[in-house]
């Protein structure tokens, strides 16, 4: 499905959707959103790109195989989840917060890193699934 309209639109949509997914990721703590939804939006951006330009183009754009994102995201989430055990001797997955909010992002805590990890894992998993199904078709 290589139409010129979709192709042009997807070039503009890809960065917009990625930006939107980061926005969703960051607002996730107190408002609707979060790592899972953000990750899905980001992978939709790449899937749309793959629809318009073909799978090879998207792979070229990504440079690495999306499967490699999985362990990276998992280890970020893992470290964020075990950090309270070592920092303040509180149970696994307790939220640890920096005292002062950062500009733009707001309050930063271990939950944000956990969500970032989830975001990366979701992008990795869903893109791997979709690429595998598309390739074996």
């Amino acid at each position: 499905m290589k139409t010129i309209i979709l192709k042009t639109a997807s070039d503009y949509l890809l960065p917009l959707l990625l930006l939107f997914s980061v926005f969703i990721l960051l607002r996730g703590h107190y408002l609707p959103g979060g790592g899972f939804v953000g990750g899905l939006i980001a992978s939709i951006a790449f899937v749309l790109h793959a629809f318009a330009n073909g799978l090879e183009e998207t792979k070229h754009l990504l440079r690495i195989h999306p499967g490699y994102l999985m362990p990276v995201g998992l280890i970020i989430a893992f470290i964020a989840a075990i950090s309270p055990i070592f920092i303040s001797n509180l149970p696994f997955m307790t939220g640890e917060w920096f005292a002062d909010p950062l500009p733009v992002i707001g309050m930063v805590g271990s939950a944000l890193f956990f969500d970032t990890g989830v975001y990366i894992v979701v992008v990795g998993v869903s893109l791997t699934i979709i690429f595998t199904i598309t390739e074996s078709a």
Partner: protein, 502 residues
């Protein structure tokens, strides 16, 4: 906080699974990391077990949310014992799979998935939240789907579809049961459920929910009318996978049954009748299935089903001695069944077939190996003083005390069938003069393997055989452990207090 230790077995497996994912392309590094990871997991599990033995039940509230609201992890003696057994079998299987699984399979992430499976098992044993138990079950079955299909041979895919369908159906029934239970009680924490379910007036609805749980876990455990997926799929994957499946996966179903029916649904006469009749029928039908088959792996698959009956029987009788017998059997069974499937892998490596008709002469050719292999076989039958004898004795005595002569009949029948099947296996595979087999081209026969590879196959079998011997000869210790577990299980008030009033 000493309570952190409750989560360590889970975290260790998760950590090593992630590390293994980083080494996706280097099979050689994966092998060493996997074995190292399992050694660490074994140490942590022993540590957890000793701590629990000394300190009693420990709980931890993840995220520091108080008990009925957050997710609780509970390590009582039962959970700690099963985590320890998981670590023991996991360690043996990881060495065995490093030695036997083909490189092509290892390249598709066999070892990381194995660690995810062990992670799921540890999680299922340690969690104190019924929905969290569902999530761990899903982690277990997703990893087991990958393990059963990895390699993609025709027979594997055919077996996998049956395995897949019925396990998902079981999960859906489990999820439905959770939905109904949540509608009834409004909570998911098992200790809180125990209090709230006991207060519900409408007992009929509670019984229906209990039956839904029984069916869901029953499919996973391989109980009488629901076991058909098990012999249809367990003989298809490579022996290392069979070992972990046969040793641990059905036992998670048994664990969940024992947990749910001692903590949440307690004292329904109607349930006792159902559990006892299902246990008796499982014993008989599994035994009959084992009789007719000629493929050793299929025989072992049916023996799994048959022996699940003993554990459910102990649960159904619901006395301290009976539950202690069931726990003792569970401990013995995990070690022996894991070993049996690894053994069948070794036999396959030596002879190139699983068929009893074509096998033979193993004792003449490999006397030393045969002597090692007789230990799990005889433990399985329960020749005194080996490990299978003591729990069976307890179960038969308790059935007598309950005046339930049908059950005694079923237990004795299953025991004799096991004896007969193992005796037949011994004569056919080990003593009989072996027929001349055509050598299969390109097959990695055991005699062609390097010394290192041979060691990787034999060491885990010897390791588990020693543990079996310990369970048999040190039965006193295991019995004391089982009685303590049974006391904890029967006194569900202690469990509730440990979770809700730390």
């Amino acid at each position: 906080m000493i309570q952190h230790i409750v989560l360590y077995p889970i975290l260790v497996q998760l950590f090593f699974a992630i590390v293994l994912l980083f080494f996706w392309n280097s099979v050689k590094a994966q092998k060493s990391i996997s074995i190292f990871g399992n050694i660490v997991a074994l140490i942590v599990s022993v540590w957890l077990f000793i701590t629990i033995w000394q300190e009693g039940t420990l709980t931890i509230q993840t995220g520091n949310w108080e008990a009925p609201f957050g997710i609780t992890f509970v390590a009582d003696t039962f959970a700690a014992t099963l985590v320890l057994l998981t670590a023991i079998s996991g360690f043996a299987v990881s060495i065995f799979s490093v030695g036997t699984i083909l490189r092509a399979r290892l390249k598709f992430g066999f070892l990381p998935i194995l660690h995810f499976l062990l992670l799921g098992l540890n999680g299922a044993f340690l969690t104190g939240d019924i929905f969290n138990l569902y999530v761990w079950f899903e982690i277990i079955i997703i990893s087991s789907f990958v393990l059963i299909t990895i390699g993609g041979e025709k027979k594997q895919l055919e077996g996998a579809i049956k395995y897949f369908t019925l396990n998902i159906l079981a999960s859906m029934i489990f999820l439905t049961a959770i939905a109904v239970l949540y509608g009834l009680a409004g909570t998911l924490n098992m200790a809180d459920l125990a209090i709230k379910v006991a207060e519900i007036e409408n007992r009929g609805l509670v019984e229906i929910t209990a039956i839904l749980f029984f069916i869901g876990f029953g499919i996973k455990a391989g109980l009488f009318p629901l076991y058909f997926w098990l012999p249809a799929s367990y003989h298809t994957p490579p022996p290392a996978v069979m070992a972990i499946f046969g040793g641990l996966l059905t036992k998670v179903g048994v664990y969940a049954l024992i947990r749910v029916f001692t903590v949440i649904f307690v004292g329904e006469d109607f349930l006792e009748l159902i559990i006892l009749s299902v246990a008796g029928l499982t014993l008989v039908s599994g035994g009959i299935g084992a009789l007719v088959h000629n493929n050793i792996v299929k025989v072992f698959s049916y023996l799994i089903i048959c022996h699940i009956g003993y554990m459910i029987l102990g649960l159904g009788l619901y006395t301290e001695a009976a539950i202690a017998g069931a726990i003792f059997y569970l401990i013995h069974d995990i070690v022996v069944k894991t070993n049996l499937f690894m053994m069948s892998g070794l036999i396959y490596r030596i002879k190139g077939t699983f068929s009893m008709r074509d096998l033979g002469g193993l004792y003449n050719n490999n006397p030393l190996l045969s002597l090692i292999m007789i230990i799990p076989l005889m433990s399985l039958v329960g020749i005194p003083p080996l490990s299978g004898f003591w729990p069976k004795l307890a179960l038969i005595t308790e059935s007598f005390n309950a005046n339930n002569y049908w059950l005694i009949g079923a237990v004795l029948f299953a025991t004799f069938i096991t004896l007969f099947v193992i005796a037949r296996l011994w004569t056919e595979v080990f003593w009989k003069e072996g027929p001349k087999l055509k050598r299969i081209a390109n097959f990695r026969y055991f005699s062609l393997l390097s010394k290192h590879q041979k060691r990787q196959m034999i060491v885990p079998i010897v390791f588990l055989a020693f543990i079996s011997l310990y369970i048999g000869f040190g039965a006193e210790h295991i019995q004391r452990l089982s009685i303590r577990i049974a006391q904890e299980l029967l006194d569900n008030q202690a469990y509730i207090n440990a979770v809700l009033k730390p």
